[in-house]
């Protein structure tokens, strides 16, 4: 279970504090699939970072009773000057995971071949996200945090990721934040809208979807 209680998050800007999240409360239980809809700049990524623990709330409390991933398929959770292998080793050390087992998995899954021994900065963006996705799958989490749509590699690789994440790890909790509802409709059983710092949960995905479209149409997000 992960619980956010009256969480505020603000950033200091030159013109005073900019409030991104305002009294946000949310609970994610084991196996929940939560979709969060919000426009660009609505604070979706901030929400994900607070849930993952990479950032601390300005006020309020985040309680984590299950392990949460870092934002998935995010290519820049890595070090460009290190090779794919070294990045895998680093992540394994950080998460206390078995390196040999993880490396075997990453090599097989990311299909980078000899590029595993090249610095990540020489990768194409597709290769980078393949590596990122593979490493995040190598570490076991109770809750996966998915920021925006995962656009990993070509269609075939995309399917492979979907099956790895949504089929093989279907029992885990997931939080998907996105500005477009398709993926959320496909994979989630709970849906919220994040708008103007507030989060509102809707009784059904369809209700959230209808409301989101309505708000978008009225340009009121």
């Amino acid at each position: 279970m992960i619980r956010l209680e009256k969480v505020d998050k603000g950033y200091k800007t030159r013109s005073g504090t900019h409030t991104v999240l305002d009294q946000v409360s949310l609970q994610i239980n084991r196996g929940d699939k939560l979709g969060v809809l919000g426009r660009n700049g609505a604070g979706k990524s901030t929400l994900i970072r607070l849930i993952s623990g990479a950032e601390l709330p300005t006020r309020g409390r985040v309680t984590r009773e299950m392990s949460a991933s870092w934002p998935l398929a995010l290519g820049d959770a890595f070090q460009g000057s290190l090779t794919g292998v070294d990045n895998t080793r680093f992540i394994c050390r950080v998460y206390d995971a078995d390196f040999k087992k993880s490396l075997a998995y990453v090599e097989e899954f990311a299909e980078l071949g000899k590029f595993m021994h090249e610095p990540v900065k020489s990768y194409s963006s597709g290769m980078r996200s393949r590596l990122a996705f593979a490493i995040s799958m190598a570490i076991e989490f109770d809750c996966f945090l998915i920021d925006e749509t995962i656009s990993v590699g070509d269609a075939r690789f995309h399917d492979k990721c979907n099956s790895e994440l949504f089929d093989k790890r279907g029992d885990r909790a997931m939080i998907i934040v996105s500005h477009e509802p398709n993926r959320i409709r496909e994979h989630c059983n709970r849906a919220c809208i994040l708008s103007q710092g507030k989060i509102v949960e809707y009784p059904s995905i369809d209700a959230a979807y209808t409301q989101y479209q309505d708000l978008q149409a009225r340009n009121a997000l």
């Binding site: 623990g53 990479a54 601390l56 709330p57 309680t63 984590r64 959770a77």
Partner: protein
């Protein structure tokens, strides 16, 4: 895998567990730093010791060639002890000036904290200069340029106090540098200009009496003097104020940790 953690304004959890996590993270960062900095080409991470060694060796040669040493103290160990203390604080602080930016993306991983970047770099730099000093000392003893250090314990204590000074200053200046680039720039100039006053190239005993009183208020002077006493024993008459150095070290460390806590709240992963 089920672990309970809560993050609010005040993180909680068992202290021992946090400590073991932090140890693991710092270890991972150390290995990462070694690889990114020295890569695996040619002598690789040995550069960590070789670089300061070459520096000191170069200075030793320059001073020997100059040959205008006006003291009864043997030149080689005098320069060796002095220059090593400079490398210790200067390298450590320099390396922490830019500890945050290249590592920022790693903050996506919850257990990785800003302070870990600094600690990893401090450990690396202190280790490098320490090994370099030890190696050069034994080399100079073997070559007959110097006698063995007189009092290893005093030498060791002085080195620890100076490493602590370096670490505290590195935390503080590193955090300040992360807040403003100006700090880093000024530091580079200031540290260079400060070198002649750092106690590395003179003994307090050589100074006029009224200047001596002022000189020992420079923390690095106290450190270097104590260090030399450990090295030369009764050959030198050292002037230092150890309690003062300890107070300065504590103040720097607390201020440094506080400053890092301050920037931690402001770090936003991209």
């Amino acid at each position: 895998m089920s672990s309970a953690t809560a993050t609010s304004a005040r993180p909680q959890g068992s202290f021992g567990r946090s400590l073991s996590i932090q140890g693991r993270i710092i270890g991972a960062l150390l290995m990462r730093e070694l690889i990114t900095r020295y890569s695996r080409h040619n002598i690789g991470f040995l550069w960590m010791f070789v670089e300061p060694m070459l520096f000191t060796a170069g200075i030793l040669i320059l001073w020997t060639l100059r040959g205008t040493h006006e003291s009864h103290l043997p030149l080689v160990p005098f320069v060796l002890t002095g220059y090593s203390t400079i490398l210790l604080w200067r390298n450590t602080i320099n390396r922490c000036g830019n500890a945050l930016d290249p590592n920022r993306t790693l903050l996506h991983h919850r257990n990785v904290r800003v302070v870990d970047f600094f600690i990893a770099r401090i450990i690396l730099e202190v280790t490098g200069t320490t090994v370099s000093f030890i190696f050069l000392t034994f080399l100079m003893v073997l070559l007959g340029f110097t006698k063995m250090p007189y009092d290893f314990f005093e030498l060791f204590m002085a080195w620890i106090l100076m490493a602590w000074f370096a670490a505290g200053a590195a935390l503080l200046l590193g955090a300040a540098g992360a807040m403003s680039e100006t700090v880093d720039r000024i530091w580079h100039v200031a540290s260079y200009l400060f070198m002649p006053f750092s106690g590395a190239f003179f003994a307090v005993e050589w100074l006029p009496y009224h200047v001596q009183k002022i000189a020992i208020w420079i923390p690095t002077v106290s450190g270097a003097e104590l260090f030399r006493e450990g090295f030369f024993g009764p050959l030198v008459h050292s002037h230092y104020n150890v309690p003062y150095l300890i107070v300065v070290n504590m103040a720097l460390s607390f201020a440094g940790l506080y400053a890092i806590k301050h920037i931690t709240g402001r770090v936003e992963g991209e």
